[in-house]
């Protein structure tokens, strides 16, 4: 396992109390694995992504352990985490369009950032240029200001910059949501090629768009209301989902070649529980078509067949 997360619990401080955005999640990401992380907005998937890289000031570490390449990440300690950021764990943020300092030429900013991390900038230049070529950016972008680049160019630039030190783990947070469909596909394929070239060892791709994950992810993890619902190889999640929530989520997706006049898209009735004071037991209970008495107990997240995990009494 490249990444092993054990019982991670991270809350958001709010006025009304702690919001249990991440309430005890356990999973692993294998070497070379691209793990998709899907779920409705507010389910805690971005909180998970952020807690592996950098805590938002309002986030509060409760408990849990994160190991990357066998080393524990001190995620609760902002200063200590600095040694790991960029070099071991890196992020392509959802705000990639505005992630570059507007008043520095991109090359100079890159050099200053790398130098600040103790690496002589000239040593990375050949690799930087090679990777720019790979993503189809001309080398002279380094001599330009961010405002001179299009949105798609900035996105690719950020992807190259974030991975230039070959981190073990890359978090890609909603990176396709601001792009049009054709660019989405190109960006998604670029992520795969980064893994194939060994720029990053493994990857967590966070998105609410399962169809993107279908194209690139090796495994898909589905989150619901701060907890993991199901994790399985992409093919299983798409064709044979086990958790009732995953089933509804997958069946609500448009399918290529299907005429929707014939088959109405099924939304999921109801809304997720408030995470301020979530009910005991299975959190999907109130919306679940197959819920029963047993669901008042919290279902464990267990391996139901090789590589296929789910948290539901009905599938165990």
């Amino acid at each position: 396992m490249s990444l092993q997360v054990t019982n991670l619990r991270v809350y958001y401080r709010t006025l009304a109390g702690d919001v249990r955005a991440l309430d005890g999640v356990t999973f692993g990401v294998a070497d070379g694995e691209i793990m998709g992380l899907a779920g409705e907005s507010g389910c805690g998937k971005s909180t998970l992504g952020n807690s592996l890289v950098r805590f938002d000031p309002r986030m509060r570490y409760i408990e849990g352990r994160v190991e990357l390449e066998g080393l524990e990440l001190p995620i609760w300690d902002n200063a200590a985490m600095n040694d790991f950021r960029f070099k071991e764990v890196s992020i392509v943020p959802q705000y990639a369009m505005s992630a570059l300092n507007p008043t520095r030429k991109i090359g100079r900013m890159t050099a200053e950032l790398v130098a600040a991390r103790g690496i002589p900038p000239e040593t990375i230049v050949p690799e930087l240029e090679r990777r720019l070529d790979l993503v189809g950016l001309s080398r002279d972008v380094l001599d330009r200001y961010p405002i001179e680049l299009s949105g798609g160019m900035k996105q690719r630039m950020v992807m190259v910059l974030s991975t230039i030190l070959n981190p073990s783990l890359l978090i890609a947070d909603e990176i396709t949501s601001a792009l049009d469909v054709s660019t989405q596909k190109a960006v998604a394929e670029m992520l795969v090629s980064f893994r194939d070239h060994g720029f990053v060892k493994s990857m967590i791709v966070i998105t609410h768009d399962v169809s993107i994950l279908y194209q690139i992810a090796d495994t898909i993890t589905v989150m619901y209301a701060g907890k993991l619902a199901e994790k399985a190889p992409t093919e299983s999640i798409i064709s044979a989902p086990r958790h009732p929530y995953t089933r509804l989520l997958i069946s609500s997706l448009p399918e290529v070649g299907v005429r929707y006049a014939e088959r109405r898209l099924a939304g999921i009735a109801g809304s997720p529980p408030l995470l301020l004071d979530p009910p005991a037991g299975c959190r999907f209970r109130d919306r679940c078509p197959v819920a029963s008495e047993q669901c008042l107990q919290e279902p464990p997240f267990v391996e139901i067949e090789a590589g296929h995990f789910a948290a539901c009494w009905k599938v165990a």
């Binding site: 985490m81 070099k87 890196s90 943020p93 507007p102 520095r104 950032l113 600040a116 991390r117």
Partner: protein, 330 residues
């Protein structure tokens, strides 16, 4: 970049045109014969009256068609003729103003530049240290809420009247003749210091608070968060934030110019400092409207030139204006 300056110059030209037209229109919209009514309301030295009436009748040319009056107004304006001062017995307004301008510039230019530099540095420092921030913030807000003339009065009272450290009236000692001697220069400086200090302090408070608030916004910007997510040291993040926070402060300088100039005018009045401000008060008290109109045009031109200088500074600092995109202040 050419487009940026072209646009700016167009606005400045338009502004000057409108301002001058307002200047021309106002006396003509007054009921009655403007020359008669202005002169009768003014405190004119009696021996100057006939000459002034002849001069202004010719200048206003009320018997001519209105467009001709307007054209000849522009003709006079462009040749630097702003009319004649009534209370100073017919001295050309341009001369009168020119003799006051050096004093006002001597106050304004150092006060603006130094307060901008010091305020921004201090504000950036305050954003970094909590205790400094807690101390700096209230002081900054009090300073920036202080009316210019009041701070001038208070400084004059404490440092001038109670402690007798500085003179509180005039541009130099009345006992001296303007000569290029150390005594005279020393006198100029000691008379200059208090008005300068009070202008400096009020502006300083504004810049410091502005920079402090701006830095906090910049530290919260996406590019700052990205740098932090990549483990950049605080030093680098702050350096970038400061650099970007300076840009709106430059635009702010342009926006503040009008207010700063009026601050200088009232400060001069408190200290009877012989610049444009004191002249303005004299013009108002003596109802010398020709002088007032001249001062009005003069201030406009001055502010427009200063605006243009700020624009040039902005282009030098913000790369985006140079690469053909419109900059922040566009």
């Amino acid at each position: 970049m050419r487009r940026y300056f072209g646009r700016k110059l167009l606005i400045y030209g338009l502004t000057f045109f409108i301002a001058a037209t307002i200047d021309w229109m106002i006396p003509r919209f007054m009921p009655g014969n403007p020359v008669q009514s202005l002169l009768s309301r003014s405190h004119v030295a009696p021996d100057a009256v006939p000459a002034l009436i002849a001069y202004y009748n010719n200048l206003f040319g009320l018997d001519r068609p209105i467009w001709e009056q307007y054209l000849s107004f522009w003709g006079a304006l462009l040749s630097g003729d702003l009319g004649r001062s009534v209370y100073l017995t017919g001295r050309p307004v341009t001369d009168v103003i020119m003799s006051a301008v050096p004093y006002t510039l001597a106050l304004l230019v150092p006060a603006i530049l130094l307060s901008w530099w010091a305020g921004n540095s201090f504000g950036a420092m305050a954003a970094r240290r909590r205790w400094l921030d807690n101390a700096a913030l209230p002081i900054g807000y009090i300073l920036t809420a202080t009316p210019y003339m009041w701070l001038a009065i208070v400084l004059a009272w404490i440092l001038g009247f109670i402690f007798r450290l500085f003179p509180i009236s005039g541009g130099y000692s009345y006992a001296l003749e303007p000569t290029l001697t150390w005594t005279f220069v020393g006198s100029l400086f000691s008379h200059w210091f208090l008005p300068f200090a009070s202008l400096f302090l009020v502006m300083f408070g504004g810049w410091a608070i502005g920079m402090r608030n701006m830095i906090i916004y910049e530290l919260d910007a996406d590019y700052s968060r990205y740098l932090e997510a990549l483990g950049a040291p605080t030093r680098l993040v702050r350096k970038y934030a400061f650099r970007n926070a300076v840009l709106p402060q430059i635009t702010g300088l342009a926006l503040q110019l009008g207010v700063i100039v009026s601050g200088a005018l009232v400060t001069e009045i408190v200290f009877s400092y012989p610049g444009i401000g004191k002249l303005t008060l004299a013009a108002i008290q003596n109802e010398d409207y020709f002088l007032l109109q001249g001062i009005f045009l003069f201030i406009i031109v001055g502010v427009l030139i200063a605006n243009f200088l700020v624009d040039i500074a902005y282009v030098l600092v913000d790369p985006r204006t140079r690469v053909g995109m419109s900059g922040r202040s566009a």
